[in-house]
Amino acid sequence: MAEANSRPSSGAVLAADFGSVTTRVLLLDVVDGEYRLVARGSTGTTIGYPANDVGPGLQRVLRDMSSATGRNFFRPDGGLIMPETGDRAGVDYFVVTASAGRPMRVLLVGLMPGISLFSMQQVIRGTYIESAGELHLEDGRDEQGRLNAALLSRPDVIFIAGGTEGGAQAALLTLLKPVALAVQLMDETRRPVVLYAGNSRLFETVRAQFGDLTGLLTAENVRPTMTQTRLDAALRELGRAYDVYKERQGAGFYEIGQMSSTGVQPTAATYRLAADYFARQYGDTLALDVGSSSSLVAAVLAGQSSITVNAGVGVGHSARSLLEQVGEAALAAWLPFYPEPDELLNYALNKTLRPASIPVTLREFYLEYAFVRAGLGWLLEQARPGWTGVPRDAPPPPLALIVAGGAALTATGSPAASLMLIADAVRPAGITAIKADPLGMIPAAGGLATLHPAAAVQLLDSQHLEHLGTVISLSGVPVVDQPAIRLTIKPADGDTIKTEIAGGHVLFLPLPASLSMELDLRVVGGLNIGGKRRVRCTLTGGTAGVLIDARGRPLLTGDDVPTRAQNLVRWWQEATEIVHEIPPEWLEAPPAPALPDMAALTGEEAAAEAPRRGWFGLRRRAPAAPPADEADALDDLLADLDSPAEADPAAPRRGLTGKLTTPAADDLDALRRG
């Protein structure tokens, strides 16, 4: 790690974030007294074939940025020019964050599953971890079993905790013995770092057992008493262990870490810092990153901060693991077709093979965003136990702000599409401002925070985070196509508009960042917006605008494919004005799996005529024609898709309540065009 001055300078900063798919580099410098983005570049991360070194990707971007800005970054020997010179070559700081590469394998060693192990699990949820197993007093192993578990799991880090402060020591010593022996038996070049955050009375014992064998980090006891948890110190030390791991991992991280002013920091930690910062301004905040190999949710709710990182949930490298964890049913809920046998797994495997690729066809578009929506929804469910004060079975708490990173949510090319996807995936309650980080400003600011806090704040406050707009979400279960929200809109420079929004619909109001509007929303009985039946607010716009989501909570996409197709197409069209034409064959149920052998065995030739039952006596859904009302709905949908309204933008469209144009809808269309 390069030495940094103790007093922050006001020189240029280079920030590099190595994602699994993309390396993003930002050049930040002082403009008019504040740090601003002056140049940026990105390229595919060069881990893996052929170079397996993140260096060439970084050099490639810096060469391109050098051509664009005229600033030279490299010394003749290839090193980075630091500090910045008088002729504006080089930079004062180089901060590096990373989520790329294999996650760190951590073996947990604690006393009891529900106590010390539970606290340790909360700690490791804060960064890019793959579990290498757990050893504890109730694991059913003897000493030899624990020795082999530690040896064969090949951990990068052994995280040890257990015992309250001043409490008993003998039990933990029983576990430490085989672990120390395992470390001793490992190849010296591959010994894991040991992090100890247990009873402090055992610090010296732990040092004696591991200090001469491998790198040892210590932190405050994660469980000082039975009822208290102290996770922050252990999380910080785990961040240091991550730096050691990345530098050991090869792939050029050692060289990059040596050049950097802060070592290699986990990108996840920067999201937590950003969430903490924004929560002080806005209130309850979620910061999300949906990546290729991992995803994270950093939450600050009622002043309590938490982070959940899952290194097995991603829409590229980890697509298969996402499918396994989330399940096919959760994905199918976002598909307007019956997936063919193995279609979801085929898709997931192809994404793991080409994680940077994007969907082109309509079918793949729905598959891709089913992974994003269902994956993020699942991750939020996993994060909820860590949200202090939010009961797991309670409705989602109203959120003041969501900040989203990751190309899946931010690189749609359409702010309205990004806004809608975030609303679908997070399903917030209340009135929620939405920001996106397509440039990687959060990793840059978070990486800089320990060196130059003022610069970090200036970057987070700057316009480089894209303010997409606001989502207003209706809670409760509205009656579909019946009025759910009565809305009065007062634009800053126009006539007041009154309209209704029907249940099961969304209304998108484009509103540029330079404008604001007053909204008065009254909901019908039994429904609410953030717990209120009437909400008056003044909202400023964004790159997208305001999305009023009257679909209710919980958000249900439909029990069957035709209903889902109708809903998904309509919602997307209402939010983005993009019309998806669903091929009629997508709505045809596949034939139920035949059971000819059973029929033949039992001689029941008439079996095919009778309502069939599955292996466990459950009635199978017959592949019959849809019921009359369903068929009507389907006809409506297909007629709607064929409607000349889509060919002529000026023609009447299906409007706010799902009915054809009303005067109020005309007013809104004028607002859209205006």
Binding site: N52, R60, G101, T189, D342, S357, F365, G413, S414
Partner: protein
């Protein structure tokens, strides 16, 4: 801003790189040095996979002895191989109170009144697989090799490899073959099919003793079965029912009967390897190896391959790189390249869905 696509090469004559690596879990040594020339069958690294350890309490047999005394009582050297039943500790190897090896392996620790035996680990030897030069050594892990010849990189492999001759499927496809024929055609050979692998194809392959299969695709439903096979399987396109690009078929047709190395590497994320088929050929003669276009910005004239529907596997040349975003059918807006795939009209393919295919 320049764009640097990934590369997956399909080229008749090129310089190529092959990473010959031990499995990540293995501990081992590299047997060659940088700059050394190697042939296809030369071992370049050897190592062992982790194995179980057995803890033996020495005290009931040898009494309470300190660590130094316990080590003096060892009848074998630490790390030396022992066979099950061999005496490993005691005052005399032939008589008296002794401790015997409970399994084949090696004594790796003696102390604190205990002896620890590591059971015999599985030894892994990695062959060069190509004719070429060692360009980099990764201590304890393997080497990077550079060679020249024909290279067809795939997208997925089941973790096996084979060196043998190539053989094209019959015109009627592999499914038309009988699985239990006594005909020795295809036996032990690397068999190429332009059609997706099916359960029937696997039945034929196992019945007739194919050496390996190269196919464009297969359904994920066959994944577990294919991963269990001893024969290498490499896919060139992906999962699903995707046919092989005719240009790849044409190239492979030219190679029928030649000896090739199929490294159907099961590539974990972030590993510097690709599953690939290599036919080593020295430079010289009429055909000089083409330079490899990896790490260079995409530009007009480059040969590329599309990775996603509706043009999966299509090869073509970039004819334009428009600077405006193009709206895709789902509504995403992104930068695309205009690619000539040999059809009447060029097609627009997102830059994110292009791979360089080599010359």
């Amino acid at each position: 801003m320049p764009v640097y696509p990934d590369a997956r090469l399909i080229t008749r004559m090129t310089f190529f790189q092959r990473e010959a690596l031990l499995p990540e879990a293995a501990t081992g040594t590299v047997l060659v040095s940088e700059g050394q020339a190697v042939d296809i069958r030369n071992p370049v690294a050897r190592g062992s996979l982790p194995s179980e350890h057995i803890i033996m309490d020495a005290r009931p047999v040898l009494g309470s002895v300190n660590d130094a005394a316990l080590r003096r009582l060892l009848l074998v050297k630490e790390g030396a191989p022992v066979a099950r039943g061999d005496p490993i500790a005691g005052k005399d190897a032939r008589r008296g109170r002794r401790i015997f090896a409970p399994a084949d392996g090696a004594v790796v620790f003696a102390g604190e009144g205990r002896i620890i035996l590591q059971t015999r680990p599985q030894v892994v030897t990695v062959e060069a697989g190509v004719r070429g030069d060692v360009t980099a050594v990764y201590p304890g892990r393997g080497v990077s090799l550079r060679g020249s010849g024909t290279l067809v990189q795939g997208v997925w492999g089941n973790g096996r490899s084979l060196i043998n001759s190539l053989r094209l499927e019959p015109a009627s496809g592999l499914e038309s073959l009988s699985p239990d024929s006594f005909d020795s055609a295809y036996k032990n050979e690397i068999v190429i099919t332009a059609r997706p692998i099916t359960a029937r194809v696997l039945q034929v392959a196992e019945g007739r003793g194919f050496g390996a299969i190269i196919a464009p695709s297969m359904s994920a439903g066959l994944l577990a079965q294919v991963q269990r096979l001893e024969m290498p399987v490499m896919l060139t396109e992906g999962f699903g029912a995707i046919r092989m690009n005719p240009a790849i078929v044409a190239l492979l047709q030219e190679l029928d009967g030649l000896q090739a190395t199929l490294d159907a590497a099961a590539v974990a994320s972030f590993e510097p390897r690709r599953p690939q088929l290599v036919i080593s050929r020295r430079p010289g003669g009429e055909e000089e190896p083409a330079a490899v276009d990896t790490g260079v910005a995409l530009r007009r004239g480059m040969r590329v391959r599309s990775t996603r529907p509706p043009f999966t596997g299509e090869l073509g040349k970039v004819i334009d790189l428009p600077e405006m975003l193009i709206t895709l059918p789902g509504g995403l807006r992104t930068l695309c390249a205009r690619v000539d795939t040999g059809e009447a009209e060029p097609v627009e393919i997102p830059l994110a869905n292009l791979e360089l295919a080599g010359r």
